[in-house]
C-alpha cells in the first residue's frame, strides 16, 4: 500500500492488485547454477582425474571412475545448496543415465575402432579380387568368401522371407484359436535356438539324403533360414498389426474379397515396415559363423555353385584365418581382420538400406 500513489479514489480501485502485506505471493523462482555449471564441474573432475593418473596415483580406469564420481557428487551437492533438492536430484539422475549410456557405448566403439584399425591393413583391391587359391603367406583375398556369403545369405532370404511372411499373414489375418497359439509359441521357441543347432539341423537333414560327407552352400542357406524365419515372422506380424482395422473394413465394404484386401491394402500399407524388418533380419544372419562352419565348411577357391561342394563365407574365412594362421601369422591375421571389416560394412549398408526402405515406402500425406 505504501508504494501505491494515493492521489485519487479511482487510482486506489484501479489495477493495482490486492494488498501485498496480508497476501504472501507464491514463490515461482529459485536460485540456479550458472549456465556452464555442468561442463565446468565435468572439466574440473576430468582435470583432477587426469592429474592423479599422470602422477601415477591411479590407473586410467580408476581415475576415470573417480572423475565420474566426483562430477556426480560435486554437481549434486552444489545444485542442492543453490537450486534445491528436486533440481539436484534431476542433475544426479541425468549424470547417472549419461554414465550408463557411455558405459554401454564403450564396447561398441572399441570393437568398431579395433576392426577398422586392424582391418584397413589389407583392405585393398587385391583383397577383393583374389581368392586364397594357392596362396601361402602374403597376399590372397576374400573374392570367394564375399560371393559365398552373398549367395548363401541370398538363398536363405529366398527361403525365409516367403515362409516368414506367409506365417505372419496367417497369424494376423486368419489365425484363430489353438493352431495360431501353437505357431506363435513355436516361433518364440525358434527365436531362442542356438545358431549351432540350426547348423546341425541342416547337416542332419541333408545327410539323410546325401550321406555323411555332404557339405553344400544350400545347407548353410537352410540353416540360416531357420534362424531368419522367426525374425521375419515377428517383424512382419508387428507391422501387420499396426495396419488399422478400419482400412480392412473399408476394403471389405467395397466388396473386395479378403485375399485381395490383404494383397492390395494391408501389405502395401505395411510394406515399409516389412521391408526394413526383412533387411534387418538379413543383417542379423549374415555374420553367423557356427552353422556355416558345420554345414558349408571352407574352401580356398571360388565356388559359386551352392549345390556343389564346400563354399567359403566371410565369417568362416575370418575364423579359419585366425584359428590356423601360417608362419609368420601376421598375413593371416590381417586377412581375418579385413574380412571382419568387410562384414561389418555389409551390415552397416543393410541397416542404412532398411532406413531408406522405411522412408521411401512409407505412406505419404503430401
Amino acid at each position: 500500500m505504501s508504494t501505491t500513489p494515493t492521489t485519487s479514489e479511482s487510482r486506489e480501485a484501479g489495477p493495482v492488485g490486492p494488498d501485498k502485506a496480508d497476501l504472501q505471493p507464491a514463490r515461482l523462482t529459485h536460485g540456479s547454477l550458472p549456465r556452464r555449471a555442468a561442463p565446468g564441474v565435468l572439466l574440473a573432475a576430468a582435470v583432477l582425474g587426469a592429474a592423479l593418473w599422470l602422477l601415477g596415483v591411479f590407473g586410467p580406469v580408476a581415475a576415470t571412475l573417480l572423475a565420474a564420481a566426483l562430477y556426480t557428487a560435486g554437481l549434486y551437492l552444489w545444485s542442492r545448496s543453490v537450486e534445491g533438492a528436486r533440481k539436484a536430484f534431476d542433475r544426479f539422475v541425468t549424470a547417472m543415465v549419461t554414465s550408463a549410456f557411455l558405459l554401454a557405448l564403450l564396447p561398441l566403439v572399441s570393437v568398431l575402432f579395433t576392426v577398422f584399425d586392424r582391418g584397413f591393413e589389407r583392405f585393398d583391391a587385391e583383397f577383393f579380387t583374389y581368392s586364397m587359391r594357392n596362396v601361402v603367406g602374403e597376399g590372397g583375398g576374400v573374392h570367394h568368401a564375399l560371393f559365398g556369403t552373398l549367395i548363401i545369405t541370398g538363398l536363405a532370404t529366398l527361403i525365409a522371407v516367403p515362409i516368414g511372411m506367409l506365417t505372419a499373414i496367417y497369424l494376423v489375418e486368419y489365425g484363430r484359436g489353438r493352431l495360431a497359439r501353437y505357431i506363435t509359441f513355436f516361433v518364440d521357441v525358434m527365436t531362442g535356438i542356438p545358431s549351432i543347432v540350426a547348423g546341425l539341423f541342416a547337416v542332419a537333414l541333408f545327410q539323410l539324403f546325401l550321406g555323411p560327407a555332404a557339405r553344400m552352400g544350400v545347407m548353410g542357406a537352410v540353416a540360416l533360414s531357420v534362424l531368419m524365419i522367426p525374425i521375419v515372422v515377428r517383424s512382419t506380424e508387428e507391422m501387420l498389426k499396426l495396419v488399422p482395422n478400419e482400412l480392412r473394413e473399408a476394403s471389405f465394404a467395397l466388396a473386395v474379397p479378403k485375399w485381395r484386401t490383404i494383397m492390395k491394402v494391408v501389405l502395401p500399407t505395411a510394406a515399409a515396415g516389412i521391408g526394413s524388418g526383412v533387411t534387418l533380419a538379413i543383417a542379423r544372419v549374415i555374420g553367423e559363423t557356427a552353422p556355416l562352419l558345420v554345414a558349408v565348411g571352407m574352401t580356398t577357391s571360388d565356388n559359386f555353385n551352392p549345390f556343389d561342394g564346400r563354399m567359403a563365407t566371410l565369417s568362416v574365412f575370418s575364423y579359419t584365418q585366425y584359428a590356423s594362421p601360417g608362419v609368420p601369422p601376421v598375413f593371416s591375421l590381417d586377412r581375418a581382420w579385413a574380412a571382419a571389416l568387410t562384414l561389418i560394412l555389409i551390415v552397416m549398408v543393410l541397416n542404412l538400406l532398411a532406413r531408406l526402405i522405411a522412408r521411401f515406402f512409407a505412406p505419404k500425406t503430401r
Partner: protein, 259 residues
C-alpha cells in the same frame, strides 16, 4: 437403383452375448432412414448386419431374416462379398487408403477387384463420383496427391465418393458426421438429400437435429436395462417420431429427459 430391405425378427449376437433382440423394420427405397438412440443400444451393430460386416468380428452371428430382392442376405449360399457389392458403407472415422492417391481411392472398389476399365471410363467414373460427393471442385487439380492429405471433412466426402463409385443399391452411413465440423456436416447432409433420389440411405446418428433434418423415417433404438439386449423401440415417419411418438421412451429421449 435403390432397393427395399425388409428386416424380420433379427437377433444379433457377439458369441453368446445377445446384443440386439427382435428387430423388425422395413427400409424404404429412395429415402433416408435414420437410426437414433443412446450409446451402446445396438444401432451401429444393427447397421453392420445389413451388409454382413457384423460377422467380421470373431464369434459374431445373427438369427432372423434380412430380405432384399426376395433374397435373404443371410441365406445359406449367399456370398457376403456379393452382398457388400449391393450395399455400400461409410464409416464413422474417414478412412481413405493411405497408400493411394485421391484418384485411386475413388476407383479403389474397381481397382482392388482388378476389373478392367478403359482409362477414359475410369476418369469419367472419378469425376462423376467426386461430383456426387461435392468434392470435385476442391480436388480436381490434385487427383494424384495422397488422399490422407485432405482435411477430415474432405476425407469423409472422399470416402462417400469411394462408396458411390461402385454403384451400390443401398448406402449405409455409421455416424458419418460425428468427427466433422458443422460446415462439413452441412455439406454431407446436402449430399444425402441429393443421393437419396438414387440410393436407399440408412444413417446412424447421435445428432437428433440431423435425424430430423435429413431423414424421412426414423427408428429409435434403446436398451431395456443395463445388461439387457438393445432393441428397436419404434420406427415411424420422422415427423411423427419428433412430434408425437407413440412410445413414452422415445419422447423422453427426444425431449432430452434421458440419454
Amino acid at each position: 437403383m435403390a432397393k427395399r430391405i425388409e428386416v424380420n425378427g433379427l437377433d444379433i449376437y457377439y458369441g453368446n452375448f445377445l446384443a440386439v433382440q427382435g428387430v423388425s423394420m422395413t427400409i424404404q427405397p429412395q429415402s433416408v432412414t435414420a437410426l437414433i438412440g443412446p450409446s451402446g443400444c445396438g444401432k451401429s451393430t444393427f447397421l453392420r448386419t445389413l451388409n454382413r460386416m457384423h460377422e467380421l468380428v470373431p464369434g459374431a452371428r445373427v438369427e432372423g431374416k434380412v430380405v432384399m430382392d426376395d433374397q435373404d442376405l443371410y441365406g445359406a449360399d449367399v456370398d457376403p462379398v456379393n452382398v457388400r457389392r449391393q450395399i455400400g458403407m461409410v464409416f464413422q472415422r474417414p478412412n481413405p487408403f493411405p497408400t493411394m492417391s485421391i484418384y485411386d481411392n475413388v476407383v479403389a472398389g474397381v481397382k482392388l477387384n482388378s476389373k478392367r476399365m478403359k482409362k477414359a471410363d475410369m476418369d469419367a467414373l472419378v469425376e462423376r463420383s467426386l461430383r456426387a460427393a461435392n468434392l470435385w471442385d476442391e480436388v480436381k487439380d490434385r487427383l494424384s496427391k495422397p488422399g490422407s492429405g485432405l482435411s477430415g471433412g474432405q476425407q469423409q466426402r472422399l470416402c462417400i465418393a469411394r462408396a458411390v463409385a461402385v454403384q451400390p443399391e443401398v448406402l449405409l452411413m455409421d455416424e458419418p458426421c460425428s468427427a466433422l465440423d458443422p460446415i462439413s456436416t452441412m455439406a454431407i447432409e446436402d449430399l444425402m438429400m441429393q443421393l437419396k433420389s438414387e440410393y436407399t440411405i440408412v444413417i446412424v446418428t447421435h445428432n437428433m437435429q440431423q435425424a430430423a433434418r435429413v431423414s424421412d423415417t426414423t427408428g429409435f433404438f434403446n436398451l431395456k436395462a443395463v445388461g439387457e439386449p438393445g432393441g428397436l423401440v419404434e420406427v415411424d415417419a420422422t415427423d411423427k417420431i419428433f412430434s408425437n411418438p407413440s412410445v413414452q421412451a422415445t419422447e423422453d429421449y427426444i425431449s432430452g429427459r434421458f440419454g
